[in-house]
Every structure is written in C-alpha cells, then in structure tokens.
C-alpha cells in the first residue's frame, strides 16, 4: 500500500504548489546571498587580487571562466538526475526542474566558452585551441542544446519530459567518456589548478576570490533555477484554483 507516511511526505515534496510557495519565501534572501557573493568575488578578483606572474592581468578572466564551467557541468548532472527522479517516481516537479536546468546550463556553458576564448587570445595567441577542456565544453553545449531542442518534437508535455529525461541520462553516461576521450586525444590545457583533494597550485590570494565566485555562481544557479521553475509551474498549473487565486490576489494587492 502506498498510503504510508513516507509516501505522503515525499508526495508533498513534489507538489508544484509547495515549491512555489516555499521559493516565494526563499528567493529574497537567496538573491541577497548571490549578489553579495558575486559582487564581493568580482571586485576582489578584478581589482584586489594579484595578477599571474606569466599571464598578467588577463588571468583575471578565471574568476568568470572557471566558476561558469564548474556550474555548467554540475548543472548537467543536476538536470540528468532530476530527469531520472521524474522517470522513476513520476514527480512532475522534478521534470519541471529538469526543463529549467537546460537553458541555464546552456547559457553558462556559453559564458565558459566565450570567456575561455577571450582568455586564450592573450595567453596562447589564439581565440580557439582544440584542447581537452574547450572541446569538452563545446560538446557539453551541444548536449544541452539537444535537450532543449527535443522539447519541440513532442506536442504532449508528459511525453516530451520523458524524452528529455532519457536524452539527459544518455548524455550523462557519455560526459565522462567524452571528457576522457578528448583529454586523451590532446593535452594542451594546463592541468587542473583546483583539485578536490590536495592543495591547489594557486596562491591563496588568487584562490580565495575564485572560491567566492564559485559559490556565487552556484547560488546564482539556484536563483535562476527557481525563477524559471516558478514560471514553468504557472504555465503548467494555470488551470488549478490555487494559481487562479494567486493571480487575482496579486491584482487585488496592486
């Protein structure tokens, strides 16, 4: 019997209305956190941190490029896992989160690619170098675009969600394979300056603002994700009474 306490709690967690109401309260302070982190990190990194010995001031682009790349990649896994949860437990909200994750991830990948290219010009003399990192990022962009494009193939929302989830999962399996393949094929890019274990090979004065920016980008991702998902909830639940009440209440307040 599915009517046990666990199921009802789980079910409520997946309710779009619950999400909409909760995020209404979370967004103000989350946005504040995001702005604080981003502004602090950016000012610190652009104006206060010392420049790189070899690359000079163009190295400051790292404070945009690296956080964007990290969150873009993490965002893909988030999208795929949200899709998997939607497939396994049939939770609509999970599908909505997955749908919202796609354009955000694609945009962040775009930022990573563009800032990477701009960084490449003064550093290596060329806007584009076919090395492991850049090429993997480009493939990631195509993976995201594919998930976004698949949306229009199916007229039924439910079916489109499932297809997008399947594609995301197939891509997720492939991301490490792609990365390792391209890495094996060409290694021009400098080895990762941030490792999960062990000390980073960057001076702490340069490293700290980077950490702040990474946290800032993660909080940005959350804010943007919530905003997109809220709009998606309105779109899909427009016929429910709670949404109608929300809209009329909103106008009454105005």
């Amino acid at each position: 019997m599915k009517l046990n306490v666990q199921w009802t709690w789980f079910h409520r967690l997946g309710s779009p209305r619950w999400f909409y109401q909760k995020t209404q309260r979370w967004l103000p302070w989350l946005s504040l956190v995001m702005l604080t982190l981003m502004v602090t990190g950016l000012v610190w990194g652009l104006a206060f941190a010392p420049p790189d010995a070899k690359q000079g001031n163009s190295f400051r682009i790292i404070y945009l490029h690296v956080p964007a790349s990290i969150v873009a990649l993490a965002g893909y896994y988030f999208m795929a896992i949200a899709g998997a949860i939607g497939l396994i437990w049939r939770i609509k909200l999970s599908y909505m989160l997955m749908r919202s994750a796609a354009p955000i991830g694609a945009a962040l990948t775009f930022i990573a690619l563009v800032t990477g290219a701009i960084w490449g010009k003064p550093t290596w003399g060329a806007y584009w170098v076919w090395d492991a990192r850049i090429t993997s990022m480009l493939i990631l962009l195509f993976l995201y675009l594919g998930v976004m494009a698949l949306r229009n193939t199916y007229s039924n929302n439910e079916v489109a969600d499932k297809a997008a989830a399947i594609l995301s999962l197939v891509g997720m399996v492939n991301v490490p394979i792609i990365y390792k393949s391209v890495d094996w094929w060409q290694t021009l890019h400098q080895s990762a300056t941030i490792k999960l274990t062990g000390a980073p090979s960057m001076h702490p004065d340069m490293f700290m603002p980077l950490v702040v920016m990474i946290l800032g980008f993660y909080s940005f991702y959350a804010v943007s994700l919530f905003l997109f998902t809220r709009a998606e909830i309105l779109r899909r639940e427009c016929r429910t009474s709670w949404v109608k009440q929300l809209v009329t209440h909103n106008l009454v307040e105005k």
Binding site: N57, I61, L64, P103, V114, F220, S224
Partner: protein, 72 residues
C-alpha cells in the same frame, strides 16, 4: 587595491579589453537568465488573468441565460 589608479584598473596593462569584455558578456548573459523567467512570469500572470476574465464573462452569460430560462 592592486591597481594604483582607476585608469590602471580599466587598462590593466593592455589586457583590459579582454578582461572587461569577458565581464560585460558574462553579466549580460547572467542578467538575461534572471530577466527572462521574470518576464515569463509576468506574461503568465497576464494570460491567466485574461483566462479568468473570460471565464467570469462566460459564467455571467450562462447565469443570465439560466435566469431568463427559469423566468419564462
């Protein structure tokens, strides 16, 4: 501050173009990622309001029709 003057901050020893164009592009895209869903939400509110108004008008017309029918 690492730079001695505002001028130096902008110019960044020749690399200013690269750094600031990256900042500009990033901020534009990030800004878009916030503005787009907000616009979508506003649009949805408008659409739903229209829908509600239509529903109300429809109901009124229906009621009037029923009243007429019950009277005659």
């Amino acid at each position: 501050m690492y730079f001695e003057s505002f001028q130096q901050l902008v110019f960044m020893g020749g690399h200013g173009v690269y750094v600031w164009s990256s900042v500009y592009i990033s901020l534009v895209v990030l800004g878009g990622l916030i503005l787009k869903p907000l616009c979508q939400k506003k649009q949805m509110f408008k659409n739903i309001q229209v829908q509600i108004d239509l529903q109300k008008a429809n109901d009124k017309a229906l009621n009037r029709g029923q009243d007429n029918a019950s009277h005659s």
